[in-house]
Amino acid sequence: MVPSRIRALAEVAVPALASGAVAGLVVAGLAAMVGQPVGWAAMSAVTLGLPIALLGGGYGLLVASGRVRLGVFAPAAVYWMIGFPLARLLHETWTPALLGGSPAPPADPWGFLAYQGLVSLGFAVGFVWLNERLAPRWLLRIKAHNPIAHQLFHTYAREAEQMQEAKQRRRTGAASRAGKGG
């Protein structure tokens, strides 16, 4: 039973993992573009892109397990305010070490972390934005065999119903007004 629940949770976490991966790819791509040797760029993809993708997946698990509400910004902001600076610290410190040098932590680690923490807010906005666009479609796809996805999808469905009702009201209202309106 436990493995199937884990599998279901992991499956629901896929969109957030993908959002993290998209962000991770941007990060890795940028790292590659900073004109460093290919090895350094590839290593950046590992030391920065991979942690961010994994953190994205972690966020998806929090959503799937009901600890975080889907689409709400504040928890995502807090999550990335911790996660993003740590990922950047890992990237900054260990990329040279993995390429044969020695670890190179930032000269002012607290200043570095504080800076990355603030920048992470912008990152979190983009992450939530991307996730909001990927998650509903994915949940629709897997809800038939995944009870957690089924439950989460209904959160979205309720919202869609509200919108549909509003649309219906508009149509019936417009039809009844057709004679009066201009």
Binding site: M33, F123, E159
Partner: protein, 503 residues
């Protein structure tokens, strides 16, 4: 302004009178136009859940002001100049809340509200919109960045871009959701990307000076008050967040999204599907503000839009601008040419120099990515402005141009859309030789005037056309009044004191 069942003089109806919404005969009299029937206000969505329509406004509002004008001022006058940006964007957030007040309470655009107060006010905006937005200047910035990236002449990109926008919005029903999804993803990548670039090239010092500079209230170096720079500062304030008439158009977006009483109004369709358009009512609707249940729902809508205004609009605009300012500071460290070009006002050259400095510090690809973001901003602005302009003009024309109601509003939308595209193409191919930056200068002047004017209109519309229980509070009126003085005062001070319009 009164409500009645049969005649304008009657008192506002009590809540017990309201039962079935569509059979309700009561109306709300606002100004000289047709009274608004009383209908039920729909339930508000959860205030902190969905990304509301303001996100769309943010995507459009983040333009050259954020990417170029404010980073420029920071490099020339220091980060302390950003207190003016803080005031500009905060003011815009309050304006957003007040624009939405009328739109959500009535399902009418602010243009219709202006006409209810005094019809010439609405005609002023009708003419001003044409004067300001018929020029394709907003397109040139992105197209020039694209030219730097690919070598394709910017006029070619501009013409093709406009034709593409026209076709896309004419086929709207089929393509628009796809386009919205695509743009949604691109904007997400833009936000993530600028944050990541800032995290890689910026420093704590860049960020702390950028942020603390926002609170250096009153800082104005002597040079900023010179004839050369004061008009630039005024223009930059007008370009902080959504500029010109974008806020007014947002009332139409809110209506189409079905926010508040906008749920009772049909949507505008693309030309291809214009035949399917439902009959457009000749006026908006009002809800029963004496009914506690309805007022509870109204509070829900206000919470919903407040979340959008503060967290999404104010927050994201600030974040993106901070990222771009950090990028400019990093670029200036690498390449002193950047500051020289910014001082000379060579926008395209300065953006290229910034791109070059990232390329020098990193690789050509990083510089290319920066230009790619500028092109993306330009594309978003073009898509949004063409749609919004056509929406606003179609709305005003449909309700107020004699004989216009023979057509569907979707046909008028298509007429304005293709009209502005055709004119834009002619201007791009044979237009004035003073170049795209010159076009943006004219935009900045007229934009500032329109912004001061809409603050005055907001005060009149919200305080005279809405029932008392949902009118703005005193402090809100003071802020909007300050906005009118701020925009118009600086504009005319610049004209009288220096004899120079904003730039």
């Amino acid at each position: 302004m009164t409500t009645s069942k049969d005649h304008p003089e009657a008192e506002f109806p009590d809540s017990a009178a309201q039962t079935a919404p569509d059979t309700d005969q009561r109306v709300w009299h606002a100004g000289g136009l047709e009274p608004m029937p009383i209908r039920k206000l729909p339930q508000a969505p959860p205030s902190v859940h969905i990304l509301g329509p303001t996100v769309f406004l943010v995507a459009l509002g983040v333009g050259m002001g954020e990417a170029y004008m404010w980073p420029r001022l920071v490099l020339l006058f220091g980060p302390e100049i950003r207190w003016l940006f803080l005031i500009g964007v905060t003011l815009q957030a309050i304006v957003l809340l007040e624009m939405s007040r009328y739109a959500m309470a009535t399902g009418e655009s602010i243009f219709m509200g202006a006409a209810r107060v005094f019809k010439p006010l609405m005609w002023f905006f009708f003419v001003a919109a044409i004067l300001i937005y018929i020029w394709p200047g907003h397109l040139s910035a992105g197209a020039l960045a694209f030219e730097s990236l690919t070598g394709v002449p910017w006029q070619v990109t501009g013409v093709l871009g406009m034709l593409l926008v026209g076709v896309v919005f004419s086929l709207a029903k089929v393509i628009y959701p796809l386009l919205e999804s695509l743009l949604g993803l691109l904007i997400g990548v833009l936000v993530v990307g600028t944050a990541v670039i800032a995290s890689l090239v910026g420093t704590w010092n860049d960020l702390s000076t950028t942020i603390t500079g926002m609170f250096a209230f009153g800082y104005l170096p002597a040079e900023a008050l010179s004839p050369a720079w004061f008009p630039v500062i005024v223009g930059s304030i007008a370009f902080a967040g959504p500029s010109g008439m974008q806020q007014m158009w947002n009332t139409l977006q809110l209506r189409d999204k079905g926010a508040g009483m906008g749920a009772h109004i049909p949507k505008i369709r693309g030309l291809r599907h214009a035949g399917e358009e439902e009959a457009m009512p000749s006026r908006g609707f009002m809800f029963d503000t004496e009914d506690p249940e309805e007022m509870q729902k109204w509070k829900g809508w206000r919470r919903w839009i407040t979340f959008d205004a503060i967290l999404l609009f104010w927050g994201i605009t600030m974040l993106v601008t901070i990222s771009f300012t950090i990028l400019a500071q990093a670029a200036a460290r690498t390449s002193p040419d950047v500051v020289t070009l910014l001082r000379e006002g060579e926008r395209e050259a300065a953006l290229s120099a910034m791109s070059d400095s990232f390329a020098a510090a990193g690789s050509p690809a990083l510089g290319g990515l920066f230009l790619g973001f500028i092109a993306l901003i330009g594309l978003n602005a073009t898509l949004g402005l063409f749609d919004s302009f056509s929406r606003g003009q179609a709305d005003m024309a449909y309700f107020f141009v004699p004989g216009a109601r023979r057509f569907k509003i979707s046909h008028l939308y298509a007429l304005f859309l293709w009209g502005v595209i055709a004119f834009g193409i002619v201007i791009l191919l044979f237009g004035p030789a003073d170049g795209p930056a010159g076009i943006l200068d004219i935009l900045a002047f007229l934009s500032t005037f329109a912004m001061g004017a809409y603050c005055v209109v907001l005060l009149l519309v919200n305080n005279r056309m809405l029932p008392k229980p949902i009118r703005p509070k005193l402090w809100t009126n003071v802020v909007i009044g300050f906005g009118a003085v701020f925009y118009l005062g600086m504009l005319f001070y610049s004209l009288v004191r220096f004899g120079v319009v904003v730039s």
